[in-house]
């Protein structure tokens, strides 16, 4: 988990440094093209056979992930990276699990949210408030 946070922060730092002044659409296209090529090679190398016909629900889920979860998300991410501080962008890493759990709860009826999720979310948001409080007041 600490590794994930470290990698995401380092990634945000590199992106902030190298994509400043470049339009978000260009950064997104380059980023997703490289990712698609690498993952395409990995998928081919894994030797998994392609299905004869595409199952409807997984295909819709995949399209959702490709369009909303990748293209739109990275466009917004690069837009945000160009306009906010690295500190603010780095704190996003703590928001992703919350968004994932809330989205999961909206569609997955068999796994209800527990009190522990509420506590975890409160601690996470409290930490974010402490991290960002000063930077917001310092901007005034």
């Amino acid at each position: 988990m600490i590794g994930s946070v470290g990698i995401t922060t380092a990634y945000s730092m590199l992106m902030k440094r190298h994509t400043t002044g470049i339009h978000g659409a260009v950064s997104t296209t380059v980023f997703l093209t490289v990712t698609a090529l690498v993952l395409g090679v990995v998928a081919l190398a894994s030797g998994e056979p392609l299905p004869d016909s595409l199952p409807v629900e997984p295909t819709i889920a995949l399209l959702y992930l490709a369009v909303i979860g990748s293209v739109v998300a990275f466009l917004v991410y690069f837009w945000l990276l160009a306009r906010t501080t690295l500190l603010l962008t780095s704190t996003l890493v703590f928001v992703y699990p919350l968004v994932a759990i809330i989205t999961d709860a909206m569609f997955e009826r068999n796994v209800p949210l527990t009190a522990r999720v509420d506590i975890g979310a409160a601690i996470t948001l409290g930490g974010l408030a402490v991290s960002l409080r000063r930077s917001v007041s310092a901007r005034r």
Binding site: M1, S4, F94, P97, A100, G120, I123, L125, S135
Partner: protein
Amino acid sequence: MKRVGRRTKAADIRRFEQILGALVSLAGVAVLFLDRLDVSIQQAIGVAM
């Protein structure tokens, strides 16, 4: 000179608060991780990543 020293101290306090906040947030994500671990290892890994 005095002003610079005061500003540095303020910056140090701000940095400490930012790190403290990040650690608290990380603890919150750890709680979420443990909760999802009860559901499945895949969900827990999803939270951690």
